[in-house]
Amino acid sequence: MALALTARRAGPVPAPLRAKRRRDRLTVLAFLAPWLIGLSVFFIYPLVMTLYYSFTRFDLVTAPHWIGLRNYEFFLTKDPKVWQAVRNTAWLVVILVPARMIFGLGVSMVLTTVRRGGGLFRTLFYLPALAPPVAATLAFVFMFNPETGPVNVGLAKIGIQGPLWFNDPAWAKPALVLLGLWGIGDLMIIFLASLLDVPKDQYEAAALDGVRPWQRFRYITFPNIRPVLTFGAVTGVIAALQYFTEASVAATVASGKANVGEGIGTTLGYPDGSTLTYPQWLFVKGFSDYALGYASALAVLLFAVSVIFTVILLRKAQAFTPTEESLR
């Protein structure tokens, strides 16, 4: 019998029950209080303020000055670089996310076939995901150095002229994808658990019917793991929309500039703006150029796009919001 804090009764409510209900409500309030404060202070308030700032010119040192829709107008018509940032982020959403999903699924499927030592390999495959993103990016940029890095040296040994990787605008983002695949561990773990959770009897029945492997995947495996795939896809998209660290570290390191006294704003996007993601441009505009009003406008637009994906998730999330029965 679940605790019913809002049970209804016919007739007047006796005093002891009223007191109990009030105590229960207070309990809930007490438990929720810190989070409610956090919700207002760190979520609702900043959202409202960001919206306000997006209509102003604000450089952090002087007070905000209202300019109406000029920031949005600037975004639409006067900031060519932002479109490059939008394209780069969109590229990541469209390429990086599916790549990780497919690779993650592939790796976990291979792992399900390993009977002995499965735990060891699972740990091994997970380890790269534990590396701090900065460290992993540094290592990759170093490894993919066009002249001296082991990747190109190895390719040269088998006769392939390696590309310039992080120094080539056409290859910088693919190199970031490779970095993302190396850290596939977190997705792999979830997929693996889900794959192992598929009811065995369904497989047995299929084996008896002589179902081919591809059909088995399509009709048994896939429907059973679909919620996990959805979760992975949506969180992957959200992460792609926020992609900042790896791209900025890769750009600063690969460009070789020492940035004495210049700050981080001058090297982001190297090479040729190909790694400039939307959040990085927001950061540059806000905290390098101090056009905080414009940065807020960019933030509002990013929020709008994230909301769309949140709505998609919430539709799917009905699947993992528990029903009444499961609370019993």
Binding site: T62, I67, P80, G256, G261, E262, G273
Partner: protein, 444 residues
Amino acid sequence: MKRQRFFATLGAGLALATVAACTGSSTAAPSVPPSPTAKVTGTVEFWHFFTGREEAAIKTAVADFHTKYPDITVNVHGGQDDEKMLKAIAAGQPIDLALSSTTDRAGKFCQSGAFKDLKGYIDRDKLDLTQFPDAVLAYTQFNGVRCTLPMLSDVYGLYYNKAMLAAAGVNEPPKTLGELTALAKKLTVLNPDGSIKVAGFVPLMGWYENAPAHFAPSYGSKWLNADATSAIGGDPTWQEMAKWQKDLVDYYGVDKLTKFTSGLGQEFSADNAFEKGKVAMVIDGEYRSAFVTAEAPTLPYATAPFPTGDNHTDLYGGGYITGNIMGIGKGSTNPEAAWLLMKYLTTDTDAMVKLANSIKNVPTTKAALSSPKLEADANYTTFLKIFADPHSSTTPASPTGSQYQDTMADFFTKWQTGKVSDLQAALNDVDKQINDALALATGP
């Protein structure tokens, strides 16, 4: 009656001034600060951008100041770039004295009030502004508001490897960019597989100190009009520069150049490509000499003014000047002490000469420039001469900071990789971006 009217007018005037100050930019009309009645004491939070060897030199200068003013303690914070300083000022952190590595943000600092207007202090203490050369006076103020003073300058010129030139039978540095190009081709050494082993000159924009701003004095190119709008599209010398640059890039091949540069050492490390003999000629600042002495003392190099465009030989002898600027932070809790430290570092001849000798930057007062204590070897003298040359120029101040230079750099990135077909149209587009950004930052 008269007295009443006088006070009424005074009150009205004050009210108007207050209203004007509140609705306009936050830089209110500077009041003349009263002379400190007591001796100035206390702590000065001094933020600067130097690191490593150069930071030690600043610390020495500060120690000397403390000897002269034992009641003032200076807390030094090194490695702070402009971004960090602006953030700290905005957050209300007490920065008393700030040293910025570049003149790019003088416009922003002065216009937004991040640095205090110094007029009051200058007038009160009767600081003689004529002791600073005109060029540096120009980049320390914006729109009539002087919020910074110059402290040490950077001057750019040509560094060349004497041995490599001699091996090719050349004993004089090139004076025009045409000569430079020919010499660069001669000095380049290729590997058996066709990749670059040693480059005569790397023309890629964005590599080391290759920036449009540094090449502008070679052509006398104009950046901005007096109202900070862009003058680039209308100035044909930019097209000359672009064509020269692209010709040399295409000679090497932009892919080969990128592969070559991506394998070179970091600019301010001991693996600097020029110091390691991987590039024969570079454009760099006078500070490079100090690095070479410390990191590659046997390098056979010399310096000269950077070559000019083929049609602009009259400009020879000049170069790009920039410098460091100092200001008193908006939220300073001890502006008088900060002002004393600033005056010491920017005008005390001995202090400036000592600092210039150790960092090998160019001093910014006429007295220091002509001081007998200034150690000037042949290479350093080159830059002193460039600094004094009337053809030298700097990048103008703008409320958008260095945005216009970044836009130009973006253009060159596209241009050198062959993505621009109509040069004039592209430059007009640069104009538009610069003007749009200006309008967003300063419009009604």
